[in-house]
């Protein structure tokens, strides 16, 4: 299986409901865009909406780290580029970048740790064989990409406690 490397399939438009009192897209809605982008990528990897509909399994997000680099205004369009940087028996570690279409500037980076969950008991469970193979194949394709230098960083004011 050839997997789009990096995975660039999703485009979003900033909706009126996403604008806050600073007249730009509120920080929470960057997460909405990244979440919708992962929906598309997950479906392609066999762990998306179809998988959830046909099994009692799905994925939950355990951790999410957004770095906000540029504002997004009402009606602006953005494109998400995604990369797998880690995979084990129950988890998937991905990084994503959101670019503004009109000037190509990066608006945000996003790092996410996802868990495979048995939704009937709401507990973390290993990926089934078929899904694991599909994820391994996608991860192998993405292993050709360098891991971005912004991944894995904590938040801190240097020198503070």
């Amino acid at each position: 299986m050839s997997f789009l490397t990096p995975f660039v399939r999703y485009e979003a438009e900033v909706l009126p409901a996403w604008i806050d009192s600073n007249n730009h897209m509120n920080m929470a809605y960057y997460m909405v865009i990244f979440d919708l982008a992962t929906d598309v990528m997950w479906e392609e990897m066999g762990i998306g909406a179809t998988y959830k509909r046909t099994t009692t399994n799905g994925t939950f997000t355990a951790r999410a780290h957004i770095s906000y680099e540029n504002e997004m205004l009402l009606g602006e369009r953005g494109r998400v580029s995604s990369q797998i940087i880690g995979l084990d028996s129950k988890r998937l570690h991905t990084v994503h970048e959101l670019f503004r279409l009109h000037d190509g500037k990066r608006a945000a980076t996003f790092e996410m740790l996802s868990l495979h969950v048995d939704l009937s008991i709401r507990r973390v469970a290993p990926w089934p064989e078929e899904q694991l193979r599909s994820l391994q194949s996608a991860a192998a394709a993405h292993a050709a990409l360098p891991v971005p230098d912004w991944a894995g960083r904590p938040i801190a004011i240097p020198g503070a406690r």
Partner: protein
């Protein structure tokens, strides 16, 4: 301001129906909406809320947010949020918040953010003015008397 609540714990919210996703629980993005609302509330204590933005044309912007999801939240569930100031410098505020389900006070989510003080005219980062800076420092000093939550400053990653 030595009597500033440590942590600051006055925010209460309710999970709205439109925040529920196909997993039947609050979508990950709306944890941020609630943390943002809690941030508004504590910001009012420093005169850094919407009234300040309208008056001074400056506002805190989020530069980074890191969210650790621990429990699902269902429609109509009530939550409480606790807030700690971790650090302040001339232009930045590092803040940590924990969200609890009100019915059992189980922690549902941890969140930290780096906020920058931005001039909305130039869209540039500028220093906190006075007396806001002194108020932030006083809260930071009050909150420094207890240990910050142990999850602050963690990375996203797959520890094995």
């Amino acid at each position: 301001m030595s009597d500033f609540p440590t942590p600051y714990d006055r925010f209460e919210g309710v999970v709205k129906p439109e925040w529920i996703d196909p997993n039947g629980h609050m979508n990950l993005a709306y944890y941020l909406v609630m943390f943002d609302h809690a941030l508004d509330l504590i910001s009012a204590e420093w005169d850094l809320d919407w009234a300040y933005t309208k008056r001074e044309n400056c506002s805190p912007f989020a530069a980074e947010t890191h969210t650790l999801y621990e429990q699902e939240l269902l429609e109509g569930e009530r939550v409480r949020i606790h807030s700690w100031v971790i650090a302040v410098d001339a232009k930045r505020l590092h803040i940590a918040q924990e969200m609890y389900r009100a019915h059992d006070m189980r922690r549902a989510c941890c969140w930290e953010a780096m906020m920058l003080h931005v001039d909305l005219g130039s869209r540039k980062v500028v220093p906190w003015p006075e007396p806001q800076r002194s108020r932030l420092d006083a809260t930071a000093a009050a909150h420094a008397r207890v240990a910050p939550p142990d999850w602050v400053g963690r990375k996203v990653g797959m520890r094995r």
